[in-house]
């Protein structure tokens, strides 16, 4: 596998990994049978992602995309964090091998689910597009879709 320098940097020294015990939102996507599973924890204050951490089971790309995603989302407003695209993740990493692009999708999905979880827990009205994204993510059954 040909990984960019940035991917390998994030993989060997991942940023923001671990649990947030008193998290405000948790997004869990993927599963071990597929080979990638990501948990993203967020702590929110005044609509801003104050803290974000991840736990990932998976390959080099899965760990690197999780790490870079937490960098991109930290200190952003929820709305801005939801605007992060898989391309933003790929660009921040320099490049990702084509068969590993699904890892960047997984990272975005995990963040989306964490925000959704935060909204539900705090009884915040869920915007329509977030509801749609959430439904799409939960519908995905096969690996690496």
């Amino acid at each position: 596998m040909n990984y960019s320098k940035e991917v390998l940097k994030h993989f060997s020294k991942p940023h923001n990994y671990g649990k947030i015990d008193n998290y405000d939102g948790l997004g869990r996507v993927g599963n071990m049978a597929c080979g990638d599973e990501m948990f993203v924890y967020i702590k929110v204050k005044d609509n801003i992602i104050k803290d974000i951490k991840f736990e990932t089971f998976g390959c080099v790309a899965a760990i690197a995309t999780s790490s870079v995603l937490t960098d991109l989302a930290k200190k952003k407003t929820i709305e801005d964090a939801l605007k992060i695209t898989k391309q933003d993740v790929v660009d921040a990493l320099g490049a990702l091998p084509p068969i590993k692009i699904h890892c960047s999708v997984l990272a975005i999905d995990a963040l989306t689910q964490a925000v959704y979880d935060y909204y539900i827990k705090n009884k915040i009205v869920i915007p329509k597009d977030l509801e749609e994204r959430h439904n799409q993510i939960t519908k995905r059954e096969s690996c690496h879709s």
Binding site: M1, F57, C143
Partner: protein, 378 residues
Amino acid sequence: MIYFDYAATTPVDKRVIKSMMPFLNEKFGNPSSMHSFSSETKKVLEKSRVIIAKAINASSNEIIFTGSATESNNMALKGVAFAKKRGHILVSSIEHDCVLNTAKWLGENGFEIDFLPVDKYGIVDPKEVEKRIKKDTILVSVMHVNNEIGTIQPIETIGKICKKNNIYFHSDAAQSFGKIPIDVTNIDLLTLSSQKIYGPKGAAALFVKDGVKIEPLLHGGGQERGLRSSTENTPAIVGFAKATEICLSTMEKEQKRLTKLRDKIIATLIKEVPNCYLNGHQTKRVSNNVNVRFSSIEGEAILFMLNSYGIAVSTASACSSPKLEPSHVLSSMGLKQEEAHGSIRISMGRWTKESEVNYLLKILPEVVKKLRDISPHK
């Protein structure tokens, strides 16, 4: 960097390189020519054939030189199939892709293919062969040593069953030749490789027992008894023979040394790393192969992290394969996908030192711990 991937390929031994050098320039003649330039190459070609034949208790006319073990395996399966024209072929489900995909291709082209199951250790039960043989079975192919998990298959017994039933038996010995004694008394076709035994790439052989009828894949000038046309790759073949000689003369001692290192790695990892398991059989296993799995982490990540510590191993995890498919060997043994994901292969060889094994045993548990710290499952 420390190399623990000898099962993938080996560096060429300096003595082998030395033996090859004259045949790259001054003794370059085409063995098929009539003039004096060819006399030496013709002679050395036949001498090499004798060395390799003796190594497996065969006659020299039964050795066909090819360009790779993949070619030899293709030649064995397609060669028999084309000669027989139709029929049923049995192959084990843990064969190397070059046997499996050849068998599948034959299956799409008029032949009936059956895959032999393996037990939880990755070993074929000869009774399964007996059970699955049909009236029109033309060939059984079971590898000698599996490339991923190193298990040694009962090819003697399977060979006898085939002989009794008058069916050709082929075995891919790419991972065992030079490491385990082989006798072809009950084998009809056997694949041998040079690049796994400190010989050059581009040289391999297929043993074709006297009287076994196969069709060639390559037609042309009729070299290699008409079974493999192509100007012989004399330098590589000379190197292959030299590599064989060295392996045979050091086999017993080297296998003892590697077995000790292998067992040390297995015992230490299982004792010191929680939820670490051996893939394959503990003793019916080639001396240089360790294949272990760690729960909750993924093989490609282990490989890259070890690489950053200067250690090269391999993995057959799905995430490392171009199609993101899990290893067919581990699945055939009944491992669940989530179990197979965390597997790595550590393979040793001629230059593996105990100090390198000790370094691996220091670093690998740290790497596993680091990745488990990142994983949601501990």
